[in-house]
Each structure stands twice: as structure tokens, then as C-alpha cells.
């Protein structure tokens, strides 16, 4: 452990936590240059995905392990496809439940993985900070594929990529994020990244879903009413609402949430002509997003999925591509 006395306390809130270019742990501190480099590469990779033969030799002979401590289908498949299309050997390692429950520590898991000499570890974990823990103990690169309620940087990157493909330069654009901001790693990563790219981020949610010290901690603002903002948004990002949050009294029930914060056709019709609607998936049809909107012309949800693979190929390329032997 670094002696905490030796670090400037004031610097801790504005330090680069991204880990880039060795790792991708966070969008906090990721530079515009790095993001632009990723987007350029992602555009190329997307073309590869649309070809009949979808494989590049770039990462041939390299090993990527997808370590998923939390269940995930789409993110894991996206990473798996990305790795395979880059030519890497991709292994999936599922460890549901915490390693602690099996008597093994995360430190043990890290040492086990490291002994297999991977080139890249993609980690999804239920606990915030777990990717940092692994990055400190592994000799390879680490990509955070979602850690607890903390961050999901590849999702934010593919969101920003999708946004810029649809509405152009994000500088000065207004992005409204609707949902459980307090428990959303997608929101947290997006807030950092969109801020870096010059966009204004306004989060809409009941106060129960806004974390403590929100506007001091993160470069975004909070507004409790979606209708007030709908006419000025360049993009609206709907977050999946988790029903288990009802048990914690973060909201009373689905219907009420849907009425106050759902994206329905009436609201969608009031958006500016160019505005798009995003969702990281999987969607709760009829809760945070109405089926007619999810399938409508403004929704770019499937573009996000396609771009996700391309962007993850770009990440693999930039993290590993330059260091091949």
C-alpha cells in the first residue's frame, strides 16, 4: 500500500484514475487524445465487423481472459467477439459469487491468473475497485468491464462513440441521463467521459437515486423533472431500472417510475429533431422505455451494440497492438 501520508489529499479528487495506456480502469482522467485515437480505430474495426470475413491477425498469439465474477451475457459476448475478431485466443473464466465464499481471496485469483501469462484480463466484478486490485497484482493489462456501482468505461466509450456518430462533435451538447445514478456504473463512466469531451451532463432521477455530494464529486448536475429538459436535450440516455431497488425504497413501484421518468412516445415527440435515445441494455420494455420508443426511429440501441464490439476491438488493439513481439 502506498503510504497515504505521501499523497496530496487535494490531488486525489482530480487525479487520472484511468490507468491508460497500460490499462483501462476508469473514464476518470482519460484524455481527449486517447478517446479520439480509440474512436478512429473503432471506425476501422466496425468495417471489419461488417465484412464477410471478420477476422484480423493483429492479436494473433495473444491471450485474453474474460474474468466475470458477475453474470453477464451481452458484455461478455461483446468482449469475446472483439477478442476473436482481433485474432486473439479468448478464454472465459466465470466465477460467480465472491472468491471469498470459496475460501480463496481475490489476491489468490489474481496470482492464479497471472501464472497463466495472459496479455489482457477483462474483468467484471460486483465490487467497486476490484479492477484496481487486479491491475496492481497482474503483469498484464486490465480492462474494467464493470465494477460494482463504480464504473463501466467501455460502455461509456461505446456510448460516446455512438453519440458522436449521430450528433457530431459532443462539445457543448446536452446529454440527459435518466435513472438510478447512484447505483449506475454506466452513468458514472459516462459522466466522466462526456465531461472530458465537452458535453453537458444532466442527470434526472428521484433524489433517492442520486449519490451523496453528487455535484461536488462528479462533473454533472441533477434535475428531478424529465419534462423540463426534454426540449433541450441532444441525447437522452435511459438507464435500466432494477426492480430490487424497490425493496430499498428508492422508488415505490414500476408504474409510478414509468410515469415520472419513463421515455414514452409523448416525451420522445417533444425532443429536438436531431436528438437520439440511448439505452445500455438490457431494456425493461414499458418501464424506463416504452416499446414504441425502443423500436422507434430515435433509438440507437442496436447501434450501441454494434459499436460496442468495434470499440472493444479498438481497446484491445491500442492496449496490446503496439507491444507485440
Amino acid at each position: 500500500m502506498k503510504p497515504v501520508s505521501l499523497i496530496d489529499p487535494k490531488a486525489a479528487l482530480r487525479s487520472d484514475r484511468s490507468g491508460w495506456p497500460r490499462h483501462l480502469l476508469s473514464c476518470d482522467g482519460l484524455s481527449i487524445e486517447a478517446v479520439e485515437q480509440l474512436f478512429v480505430a473503432a471506425r476501422e474495426m466496425r468495417l471489419v465487423g461488417r465484412r464477410r470475413v471478420k477476422k484480423l491477425p493483429t492479436l494473433r498469439g495473444r491471450t485474453i481472459i474474460n474474468v466475470f465474477f458477475e453474470n453477464s451475457t451481452r458484455t461478455r459476448v461483446s468482449f469475446e467477439l472483439a477478442g476473436k475478431r482481433m485474432g486473439a485466443d479468448v478464454i472465459n473464466f466465470s466465477a460467480s459469487g465472491s472468491s471469498a465464499s470459496k475460501g480463496e481471496t481475490l489476491g489468490d485469483t489474481a496470482r492464479t491468473l497471472d501464472a497463466m501469462n495472459p496479455d489482457l484480463i477483462v474483468v467484471r466484478h460486483g465490487a467497486g475497485g476490484a479492477p484496481w486490485f487486479l491491475a496492481e497484482r497482474l503483469s498484464c493489462s486490465v480492462v474494467n468491464a464493470g465494477d460494482g456501482i463504480n464504473e463501466h468505461p467501455t460502455q461509456a466509450l461505446l456510448d460516446a462513440f455512438t453519440l458522436s456518430e449521430h450528433i457530431g462533435d459532443l462539445n457543448g451538447k446536452r446529454v440527459v441521463i435518466v435513472g438510478d445514478i447512484a447505483h449506475s456504473r454506466v452513468a458514472r463512466s459516462n459522466i466522466h467521459l462526456l465531461n472530458t469531451l465537452g458535453a453537458e451532463v444532466i442527470c434526472v432521477a428521484p433524489r433517492t437515486m442520486i449519490p451523496a455530494g453528487f455535484t461536488d464529486a462528479l462533473p454533472a448536475t441533477w434535475h428531478p423533472c424529465l419534462d423540463d429538459l426534454i426540449e433541450t436535450a441532444d441525447a437522452v440516455m435511459m438507464l435500466r431500472i432494477q426492480r430490487e431497488r424497490m425493496k430499498q425504497s428508492l422508488f415505490p413501484q414500476d408504474r409510478e417510475y414509468s410515469i415520472r421518468f419513463g421515455m414514452n412516445p409523448e416525451r420522445a415527440a417533444r425532443l429536438p429533431e436531431h436528438a437520439i435515445i440511448m439505452h445500455p441494455g438490457p431494456i425493461n420494455r414499458g418501464v424506463e422505455i416504452d416499446p414504441a420508443v425502443a423500436d422507434g426511429r430515435r433509438a440507437v440501441i442496436l447501434d450501441q451494440v454494434e459499436n460496442g464490439v468495434a470499440l472493444r476491438m479498438a481497446i484491445g488493439f491500442l492496449l496490446l497492438g503496439g507491444s507485440g513481439e
Binding site: 500500500m1 497515504v4 486525489a12 465490487a127 456501482i149 463504480n150 464504473e151 451523496a212 455530494g213
Partner: protein, 451 residues
């Protein structure tokens, strides 16, 4: 005294600090056997006496830590009474109070007796026991308070857990007051803190971790002070960490309630930013959690103005099995016995408190919380428990050199000034810096278990 078969010992040339007697000047200390005989003006020791030269040293009552976890019985791989006692002696502590959250819990007389007997056998530190308030720490029914008190339990606590049932707390308070024992409370409302692993605020939001808000502590303190006011008894609030909690305690004492409180060294030096600074290192995880600077400032002011009666470490050893995890899966707690004095003296260097007050918070302050009148001072007839401190030694915290079986300190690498050079328990040297004790119980290696 000359008819006493035991030879007198004199500690000469030192600077005695005995806050309970208001002494803070060069004096010699005369001991006989396990007791203090008297303090003398310097230069009066008889030539034939057995002399301990304390030139350049502070001579103080042996330090008292009323909140430690020695993990025995049941979790000896983290610490046991031997390694805990060794760490205590090395930290200048001659008396500690162990919390009952062991396995099995200290909720009956047999466990109290076992630990008291072990303490005597080891003989490096007077290890006292705080019994459980509730059977099995389940928070449902009273543990055997009376039998445990008879076996030597000095207080009762469900530490690690709050007493969520206010009715149970009321009964425990009433029952314990008949036994003249305080309750030591870990104040936390699970409804507010559940799932949290650090202080809830700007930093937890930035770090993406679930938080434990200030009111998670202060609301319980408020509740329990009202219960104390209604039913009487004696309360001690463990490890106060919030400005609001301290304000409530100060007000309660001002209106005459019989309540005391302690604060830990880590809550006086670290803030919640340490979690981010250390990149989620588990050694910055404890309960109550590290708080923002304004709480640290408030606690420091509380030391100075007398609102806080004791510094206690909440020494909570954990092995890698509990700590080599990501932040939220790791156990709460850090060690503290070997860094407590150095950190408390750092408060003196930083102008927060006087040196006399620093010693008070580690001796007579905690003694008064428990109600001891045989220790915490150097008055005639008291236990000859003393610590000789070299206030000028500069050292760097390196847990691998420590006596505790665990190494989970957040202060690794800190430069501290001042450390014990000799600890005497009932007149016997149980610790000497850079040497092993000679006339105490045998030490079975300084670190029996490799980490």
C-alpha cells in the same frame, strides 16, 4: 518499607508525566514489587537501590487501551493473547480490554475466566475482558452479565454490532448498572449503513462505493443518550467518528449524563480520501469508516476540550484471508497498538494537545471509563505499571517488524517520533526496545506465524 522482603526499584532521572496527579516534571519513581511506593524529588534514590536510568525519558503510567480485539478464542490465526500482549507491551500498553466478538463470543463466565487466566499465564500485559451484552452477540437476549462480571468482565459490549433493539439496550443498561459496569456501544443504525463500506459523501460517490452516512452513527448515539437519560446507568461510546456524534455527547455530558467516549488514532489522522489515494486498499477500510476532514478536525478539538475521555485503538488484526480482497469484500478494521503512542505524540507535535493531555488520554482517561482506581496513575499503592518513552526517537512504521500477528495498518511508511523504550508490568520489564524481556514470562518468538 525496608521490612518488605522485595527490593525497591527506583526509576531515576526521568521526566514524570502523571496527569491524574497533575505532575509534569523531573521526578524519581520508587517501586516495590508490583506496586508504586512513591514519587520523589530527583536525586533521592539510595545508593544501594536497584536503579533504572530514565535520563532523557518520559516516565508515565502504563498505557491503557480499552478497545482491542485479540481474536482469542477462535481466530488465533489473526492474533491471540500472546501476540496481542506482545504488541501491547511494545506499544507501551500495560492494560487492554478485549472486545467479545470472538468465536465463541465472550458471552459467559467460562470464556471470561479462560481469557483472564491466559492473561496471567502470559504475563506481558493485563488483558481484561469486555463481555457481550447479548447472547452470541445476536442482539436478542441478555448474555450472562452477572456471572461474567463475577468472573472479571469489566464492561459489556456487542462491539462490531450495534444493539439495534432499543428495548434490549434499556434492559442491559439497567442490569449492568446494578453490577457497576459500563456498556460500551458500537453505534450504528444498520438501516442507514447497510451495504456501505466507507463514509457516504463526495469521496464514496467518486469512488463508486456504497456509503455509510454520518447519521448512521449519530442517530444511534442520539437514541442511546435518550435511553440513558430515561433509565440511568453508565454508557461509553466506542470509536466516535463524526462531528455530529461528538456534539451530541458533549451536550449530554454538559447536562450531566453519565457517558464517556473514545476516539481511535486512525480517525484522528486519516480521511475518507485515503480510500481513493490508496486505490481501494483494504487497509483503509474500517467501521466506523474514515470521515472527511471536518470530522477529523472536530475530533481533534474534542480531545483538546475534554469532550473525549480516551484514545483507544480498536486494534483489529486481520490476516490476508480477510484483507487480500477487493475493498467491499474485505473485513473492516486495522491494527493500532504499536502505532497509538507515536500517533498520539504526533498530535502533540502538531499542536493539537499538550503532552500531558496526550498521556492522560492513554492512561487516567481510559482508566476512569472503566472505573479503575488501581492504575492509570503513579499514586502510592497503585500497580507498578509504567512506560518509559523516548520522545526523540524517530522511526518508520513497518508492520513486518511489529509484534502483532497481523500487518493491516494504514500507517505503513509513516515517520513517527517517540516510542516506548521500556514497559513495566507490576514492576517487571515486559518490553525493552531492541532487546527481549528477561524477567518476564518467556516469549515464544516475536512472530510465531509468518505472514
Amino acid at each position: 518499607m525496608s521490612d518488605n522482603p522485595m527490593q525497591d526499584q527506583w526509576i531515576v532521572g526521568g521526566h514524570v508525566i502523571d496527569p491524574a496527579q497533575g505532575i509534569d516534571r523531573p521526578m524519581d519513581v520508587q517501586l516495590n514489587g508490583a506496586k508504586i511506593v512513591a514519587l520523589h524529588e530527583p536525586g533521592n534514590a539510595p545508593k544501594a537501590a536497584c536503579i533504572i536510568d530514565a535520563s532523557g525519558l518520559i516516565v508515565a503510567p502504563g498505557l491503557i487501551d480499552i478497545h482491542v480485539h485479540f481474536r482469542e478464542p477462535g481466530q488465533e490465526y489473526k492474533e491471540d493473547l500472546l501476540t496481542g500482549s506482545q504488541a501491547a507491551a511494545a506499544g507501551g500498553f500495560t492494560t487492554v480490554v478485549c472486545m467479545p466478538n470472538t468465536d465463541p463470543a465472550v458471552d459467559r463466565r467460562e470464556v471470561v475466566s479462560l481469557l483472564r487466566r491466559r492473561s496471567d499465564e502470559i504475563g506481558l500485559c493485563d488483558v481484561h475482558v469486555c463481555g457481550a451484552i447479548s447472547r452470541g452477540l445476536q442482539g436478542e437476549r441478555l448474555a450472562d452479565l452477572g456471572e461474567m462480571a463475577a468472573a472479571g468482565a469489566v464492561a459489556f459490549s456487542d462491539d462490531g454490532m450495534p444493539v439495534m433493539d432499543a428495548g434490549l439496550l434499556r434492559r442491559a443498561l439497567e442490569y449492568a448498572s446494578d453490577l457497576n459496569r459500563p456498556l460500551m456501544l458500537h453505534e450504528e443504525d444498520f438501516g442507514l449503513t447497510g451495504g456501505g463500506c466507507m463514509h457516504e459523501g463526495q469521496v464514496s460517490t467518486r469512488a463508486g462505493l456504497e456509503g455509510m452516512p454520518v447519521s448512521g452513527e449519530s442517530a444511534m448515539i442520539a437514541r442511546d443518550l435518550e435511553i440513558l437519560d430515561d433509565f440511568g446507568g453508565r454508557l461509553h461510546i466506542c470509536h466516535v467518528s463524526t462531528e455530529a456524534g461528538l456534539r451530541l455527547l458533549r451536550e449530554a455530558r454538559n447536562r450531566g449524563l453519565n457517558v464517556s467516549c473514545e476516539v481511535t488514532p486512525h480517525h484522528l489522522f486519516l480521511t475518507d480520501l485515503a480510500v481513493l489515494q490508496s486505490e481501494y486498499h483494504s487497509h483503509t477500510k474500517m467501521n466506523p469508516p474514515l470521515r472527511p476532514q471536518r470530522h477529523v478536525d472536530a475530533l481533534r478539538a474534542g480531545l483538546a476540550d475534554g469532550s473525549i475521555q480516551a484514545i483507544a485503538t480498536d486494534h483489529a488484526p486481520h490476516s490476508d484471508t480477510e484483507k487480500d480482497h477487493d475493498f467491499s469484500c474485505s473485513s473492516f478494521g486495522v491494527t493500532g497498538l504499536e502505532t497509538s503512542l507515536g500517533l498520539t505524540l504526533k498530535l502533540v507535535d502538531e499542536g493539537v494537545i499538550s503532552r500531558r493531555r496526550a498521556i492522560e488520554l492513554l492512561t487516567s482517561g481510559p482508566a476512569s471509563v472503566i472505573g479503575w482506581d488501581d492504575r492509570g496513575s503513579l499514586q502510592s499503592g497503585m500497580r507498578a505499571d509504567l512506560v518509559l518513552i523516548d520522545p526523540t526517537i524517530e522511526w518508520v512504521v513497518d508492520p513486518s517488524e511489529g509484534r502483532s500477528r497481523s500487518v493491516n495498518t494504514p500507517f505503513v511508511g509513516w515517520k513517527l517520533r517517540g516510542r516506548p523504550v521500556m514497559t513495566l508490568l507490576e514492576g517487571k520489564a515486559v518490553y525493552q526496545l531492541h532487546t527481549t524481556p528477561t524477567n518476564a514470562a518467556p516469549l515464544v518468538g516475536s512472530k510465531p506465524r509468518e505472514s
